[in-house]
């Protein structure tokens, strides 16, 4: 019964209009196969977060169809999400915030501790286990949020500008860490970023969206092998792909600027 080519995630002609009348997405179609690492690029306010939320099941499209992985009995939750804002519980310590997804699956803190520690270690916050969100810097909060998403080892990982608040060095380290996890665990990743370079460096495929109302206007595979290493950034193929994406982005925004006149 399983169709091996059926996509893990699929948006078919999706439209999303918010209650106040804003048309955030229209005619948005996108298929993602299991194991892909897809980056979403697009101008601010074009509907990237909206699309990710729909895939996560947080909201219904106004029309169109969405296919997404659903939780199987006995399995842990298949989708993790790093929201654009840290979205931490102010009353819970860093550890408890990261514990949350596992806790919701019924895992005791004791049992979860090694995984919490591992995740906090990866984002460099081991020393802040007992801190409360208000005691953290902006970047640190975001890293707690990333740790929380990684702790579940999800099938599908949704990340909404996870590294925007981080310095370049921490960012590169986490880029590589995520890539390594993706490679080892065979995850599927949807990744929103504003950095064309980051998108190119990370992804097996990059999707560019048009400004409001959002839809896909470019969809390009990144023909570079995995695993990737930092030297890649000087590879001519890398530069070419990045340049093309940058162009696509400029064009769609220029088109909008013209349309506005």
């Amino acid at each position: 019964m399983t169709d091996p080519m059926a996509p893990l995630v699929s948006l078919r002609n999706v439209e999303k209009r918010y209650g106040n009348g804003t048309l955030a997405l229209t005619g948005m179609s996108l298929d993602i196969q299991a194991g892909e690492f897809v980056s979403l690029l697009g101008p601010s306010g074009c509907g990237k977060s909206t699309a990710l939320r729909l895939v996560a099941g947080l909201g219904q499209p106004s029309s169109g169809q969405i296919v997404k992985p659903v939780k199987q009995k006995g399995e842990s939750h298949p989708v993790s999400f790093v929201f654009q804002e840290p979205t931490l519980m102010p009353w819970a310590s860093v550890t408890d915030n990261v514990w949350l997804p596992l806790r919701l699956e019924g895992m005791s803190k004791k049992l979860a501790q090694p995984r919490i520690d591992e995740a906090l270690d990866m984002v460099g916050l081991s020393k802040f286990r007992t801190a409360y969100p208000r005691e953290l810097s902006g970047g640190m909060k975001m890293r707690v949020s990333i740790a929380r998403a990684l702790v579940t080892r999800p099938k599908l990982l949704l990340m909404d500008e996870p590294f925007a608040a981080l310095d370049e060095i921490t960012r590169q380290k986490l880029n590589d860490d995520i890539l390594r996890l993706w490679e080892t665990h065979g995850w599927t990743v949807m990744f929103v970023t504003h950095s064309v370079f980051e998108a190119t460096y990370m992804s097996s495929r990059v999707v560019v969206m048009a400004p409001r109302p959002g839809r896909v206007i470019a969809d390009a595979p990144v023909p570079l092998p995995h695993p990737r290493s930092p030297d890649l950034r000087t590879d001519p193929v890398f530069t070419a792909v990045a340049r093309d994406l940058s162009h696509a982005l400029h064009e769609t925004m220029d088109a909008q600027a013209i349309a506005a006149h």
């Binding site: 019964m1 399983t2 169709d3 059926a6 996509p7 893990l8 918010y18 209650g19 299991a34 947080l58 909201g59 219904q60 499209p61 169809q65 969405i66 296919v67 997404k68 992985p69 659903v70 199987q72 208000r134 099938k155």
Partner: protein, 284 residues
């Protein structure tokens, strides 16, 4: 893996969906469901009275109460007007007084330290006990009733608003401080909006309390005759063993209370609708 996937909304209208549609007509259901509960309750009441043969001067049957409600309407209506006047005056005073005092406390830490304990004192002073003392000096019975009802309704507004005024987001407080906001600007533009959800929660409580406050005050200090409110009618009916009227008056008080609650809830929604989580449906 994809067979585990879910296909979302291709609405095939089925009977189940139609029922759900109906159920979603919240406005209707919010009236129908409590009404159904009421009917169940009334039937239980009536059955109890019939089966146990309880005489009407102990517990009347619902229908008797309704009849009395209608026949005694002129008397009840006069009494209701008096009770309502006290209740709403007290509520208004409590809103104004409670909110202003809370603002004073927010503006001056010293005022809060010096006076908050006395606000508590006012709340816990049993009005029933002081009503007789007040009568001696108050200009009129109405004034006594008003003071008593006010005292009961005042504290929830004050206490909730104080809590709300303290709950302003520290980041926004920083922002205001940065731009040199005066204390009164901070209050007006930041603390008051933050306090609104707390204030309306207090209002919901105070509405009912103003009503019982005025009823209890009337019980101990109420006027008789043409100035008699609902509480006096209840006492009178009790003494005269006119229990159906007693229940009719109780019913009227209760309905008034529910009406006040609906009113205050509506005001809450109105005030918070644009932005507060409690009044917004989550955008899906």
């Amino acid at each position: 893996m994809t067979d585990k996937s879910e296909t979302a909304p291709v609405e095939t209208p089925s009977l189940g969906a139609a029922i759900m549609m109906l159920l979603r007509m919240r406005g209707v259901m919010e009236v129908l469901v409590p009404l159904a509960t009421l009917i169940v309750f009334l039937i239980a009441w009536d059955t109890t009275v019939r089966v146990n043969n309880i005489p009407p001067y102990i517990l009347p049957r619902p229908w008797d109460v309704v009849t009395t409600f209608v026949t005694d309407w002129p008397i009840l209506w006069d009494a209701l007007q008096i009770t309502l006047l006290i209740t709403f005056s007290a509520l208004l005073l409590a809103i104004v007084g409670g909110a202003l005092t809370a603002l004073l406390f927010a503006q001056s830490r010293w005022a809060e330290i010096a006076l908050y304990p006395y606000a508590v004192v006012l709340q816990v002073t049993p009005i029933v006990a002081i009503a007789p003392l007040l009568i001696v000096y108050a200009p009129s019975t109405e004034a006594v009733l008003l003071i008593c009802a006010f005292l009961v309704a005042f504290f929830p507004i004050l206490s909730n608003t104080v809590q709300g005024l303290k709950s302003a987001d520290h980041n926004l407080v920083d922002l205001f401080e940065l731009y040199g906001a005066s204390k009164s600007q901070q209050l007006r533009l930041l603390k008051i909006p933050t306090a609104l959800p707390y204030f309306v929660a207090g209002l919901n409580i105070a509405g009912g309390l103003a009503l019982i406050g005025s009823v209890v005050a009337e019980f101990t200090a109420g006027a008789a005759g043409s100035k008699a409110g609902l509480a006096f009618r209840i006492l009178e009916a009790g003494r005269r063993l006119n229990i159906p009227r007693l229940f009719a008056a109780l019913l009227l008080i209760t309905l008034t209370g529910v009406a006040i609650f609906i009113l205050t809830s509506f005001i809450s929604k109105l005030l918070l609708r644009r932005w507060h989580e409690s009044a917004m449906t989550r955008e899906r």
